[in-house]
């Protein structure tokens, strides 16, 4: 069953296709090798014969038949020559040469014949000597044959063909084996991913894909899937946390509201008392609505769908506007307000949400900085390994390093700030907005006080 599955996989098909293409190229290369080796020797044979003929033709022109016979005899006497000569009378009686009889073969239009040498010694392997020659009919009906024994050439060609055939066989074998191996390897890793996915679907939510660390496509796929799962888990944890917090943080004021109205109904007598109770109730309801709208804003930022409508936001202009908005309030609270715009970076984002994030940070700074303190709004551009950054520093009590992570969670308020107004959602929203923009929220000690920085990614919006 498994092997059929292997045949169905895309990887295997791709491997097969590559093998086919590879084979075709190898065939072309082998053909060229054959052409340049065996073909070359064959052509060389023909050229040698042509050269012999040219020499003999010269002899014949100068000294006629006797000269030709003499030269043929002389050349035939050369020991171990592989050139064949034969001169015969018009009735094919041999006159000179190293062949015993005129071969019985039909010449082609250009005079070439291929024949078997009958009186040659039999080869070791029992095969016969083949030869290739050109025949001429001389004036007077005499016949001339010039040729070459092709045994060695044929042996060489056979050897080359043999070698090429083996090379081809090896190519097919190795290629197929390699294809199957690669395919199996990839299959195995995809199988692993599928297995993990099924485990996660069946409830093992903490499972993650194994990442081999070589950075190939499958590794990237696994890493991306892991990142996606982390994001989902983060959202799920957030949801659970919110529903827990909603239960607590909304139920408490709702209960308070309800009991206050109930008491009023039972106790209050005068119209003024009713009026005061109703005013209180409206105030309480407004606080609840504020919590709702903050939660919705956070949810909107966390959903990430706003990224589609991102625009280029001039961060420095935004900061100037927020400084313009908050400076009088800071002065009124007896705080020094300074805006320090050092660069004019452009970031991709949603201006309204960024403004709200900066406003939340300024609200906090104004709330916690003691009278006579300072609030500083700083904008810096790209540099020193970090992207554009907007930061807000105050001279308040700050947040202890070990609690900086937790204040980002919804409804979390420090023990020391319980008495001041607020719903514990301000920094959660800032954090959500930062993450929506791919930015990092950094908190630092301002000695004394807190610096909160939104550090944007380094990519410059195109």
């Amino acid at each position: 069953m498994r092997d059929f599955a292997l045949l169905r996989t895309t990887t295997f098909r791709v491997a097969l296709l590559y093998l086919g293409l590879f084979l075709a190229s190898v065939l072309v290369i082998l053909g060229m090798i054959y052409w340049f080796t065996a073909g070359f020797i064959e052509r060389q044979t023909d050229e040698t014969i042509a050269a012999e003929i040219a020499g003999l033709r010269e002899q014949y022109r100068q000294r006629r038949l006797p000269g030709l016979v003499e030269v043929v005899n002389a050349r035939s006497a050369t020991p171990r020559t592989s050139t064949l000569y034969l001169v015969t009378t018009p009735t094919y009686t041999p006159l000179a040469g190293n062949l015993s009889a005129w071969p019985d073969a039909q010449p082609d239009p250009e005079g070439w014949i291929t024949f078997e040498i009958e009186d040659a010694p039999v080869n070791n392997d029992g095969s016969r000597h083949d030869a290739r020659a050109v025949v001429f009919t001389l004036p007077g009906g005499y016949h001339l044959l010039v040729g070459r024994d092709t045994r060695e050439r044929q042996q060489f060609q056979e050897r080359v063909l043999n070698a090429l055939a083996w090379a081809l066989l090896l190519t097919v074998g190795l290629g197929a084996a390699g294809g199957v191996l690669i395919s199996r390897n990839v299959m195995h890793r995809i199988d692993a991913i599928n297995r993990t996915t099924r485990q996660i679907m069946s409830g093992a939510l903490q499972e993650r894909m194994t990442v081999q660390g070589n950075g190939d496509e499958l590794d990237q796929l696994a890493a991306n899937l892991n990142a996606m799962l982390d994001q989902i888990e983060h959202l799920m944890v957030g949801m659970r946390q919110v529903s827990d917090s909603v239960a607590h943080d909304l139920r408490t004021p709702l209960t308070r509201l309800r009991s206050r109205l109930e008491i009023t109904l039972v106790e209050a007598g005068t119209e003024d008392e009713y009026r005061a109770a109703i005013q209180d109730a409206i105030g309480e309801a407004d606080r609840l609505l504020g919590i709702f709208s903050a939660l919705l804003s956070i949810a909107e930022a966390e959903a990430g769908t706003l990224q589609r409508s991102f625009q280029q936001v001039p961060l420095a202009d935004l900061a100037r506007q927020m400084a313009d908005l908050y400076e009088p309030a800071a002065e009124e609270a007896g705080l020094g307000f300074e805006s320090d715009i050092r660069a004019e970076p452009i970031v991709l984002g949603n201006q309204q949400l960024l403004a709200q994030a900066i406003a939340n940070l300024l609200d906090n700074a104004l709330k916690y900085a003691p009278e006579g303190g300072r609030v500083t709004l700083t904008v810096t551009g790209i540099g020193e390994g970090r992207g554009p950054c907007v930061s807000i520093a105050d001279s308040g009590p700050g947040i202890p390093a070990e609690q900086r992570e937790s204040v980002l969670r919804r409804f979390v308020r420090l023990e020391s700030s319980r008495s001041s107004p607020g719903n514990g959602l301000g920094l959660s929203l800032v954090d959500a907005v930062a993450r929506l923009h791919g930015a990092r929220l950094e908190m630092d000690d301002n000695h004394p006080g807190l610096i909160v920085a939104i550090v944007f990614p380094r990519i410059t919006p195109g």
């Binding site: 009026r275 109703i278 409206i282 105030g283 407004d286 609505l289 504020g290 709208s293 919705l296 804003s297 909107e300 769908t305 706003l306 409508s309 506007q321 313009d324 908005l325 908050y326 009088p328 309030a329 002065e331 009124e332 949603n350 309204q352 949400l353 403004a355 709200q356 406003a359 939340n360 609200d363 104004l366 709330k367 107004p421 607020g422 301000g426």
Partner: protein
């Protein structure tokens, strides 16, 4: 977003609630800022809202504030009524049975109706707001809202319609004068120097003289941001402006309307 709907018996003076408005504030308005009202009595308002209770509450409040109010409970009826009668302002819920509020307004705009539209919606996200304004809405209010906020915005919309007709280069409320070209402000004979943001703030207050403007309306129109600042940032701006406008004069012009916002009156 505090404040709300108090009974007709009226709260502390200066409180602007449905009920005490027609009797109190209006008659107290000096004739000097009449030209800024696009309407002589109340406005004619159409409320397209499917929630019967919310609609009844809104209609009651608007009527008690001196306006004539019609109500349609679905998009189809609303479209018909808006198309067949002349209204000063339409209040349209985004989610309606039959035909949703966005398409109602799109059709009206397509037919050339220019009546100002205030969208009401439980969808408060940035995207939804943009979509509503793009469909032809003039303002957008997220549910739940304080009635004082709704009233202030509806009256501002009625005002916008009439103000758009006249291209003024000068604004005048009582003895307060603003020259929009030379960017100079005078009260009586005294020249008043304003920062750019104070100028924009005063311009908005003067254009809506006699009407309540809420803090969120100021943040939206002067700074172009749509959120509720937690601290009193807007109040401080108005207080500074008030210092410059009212300090040396016997009668104050910028009034705080408790639970709602501010009102510039001569």
């Amino acid at each position: 977003m505090s404040g709300g709907f108090q009974g007709p018996s009226g709260g502390p003076s200066g409180d602007r609630m449905p009920g005490n408005r027609g009797a109190g504030d209006r008659e107290g308005d000096p004739p000097g800022d009449r030209p800024f009202f696009g309407y002589d009595g109340g406005m004619k308002i159409l409320v397209i809202e499917d929630d019967a209770q919310a609609a009844a509450y809104m209609v009651k409040g608007l009527k008690e504030s001196g306006h004539v109010v019609d109500h349609a409970s679905d998009g189809k009826d609303g479209l018909f009524m808006a198309g067949s009668e002349a209204y000063d302002v339409l209040i349209v819920d985004r989610m309606l049975p039959g035909r949703d509020g966005l398409s109602v307004v799109e059709i009206l705009r397509g037919a050339g109706t220019e009546t100002p539209v205030l969208f009401l919606s439980a969808l408060g996200s940035v995207d939804d707001r943009v979509r509503g304004l793009r469909a032809g809405g003039d303002d957008y209010l997220t549910k739940p809202y304080a009635f004082s906020e709704l009233l202030a915005r509806v009256e501002a919309l009625g005002r916008r319609k009439s103000a758009a007709a006249a291209t003024t280069t000068k604004l005048q409320v009582g003895d307060l004068e603003m020259d929009l070209l030379s960017r100079k402000v005078k009260r009586g004979a005294k020249q008043i120097d304003l920062l750019p943001r104070e100028f924009r703030l005063l311009e908005y207050l003067m254009r809506h003289a006699g009407n309540v403007v809420t803090r969120t309306m100021l943040l939206e129109s002067v700074w172009d941001y749509h959120f509720d600042p937690q601290t009193n940032v807007i109040d401080v701006h108005v207080a500074r402006l008030r210092q410059k406008i009212d300090r040396d004069f016997p009668t104050p012009m910028i009034h705080t309307v408790r639970g709602a916002g501010y009102c510039l009156r001569a």
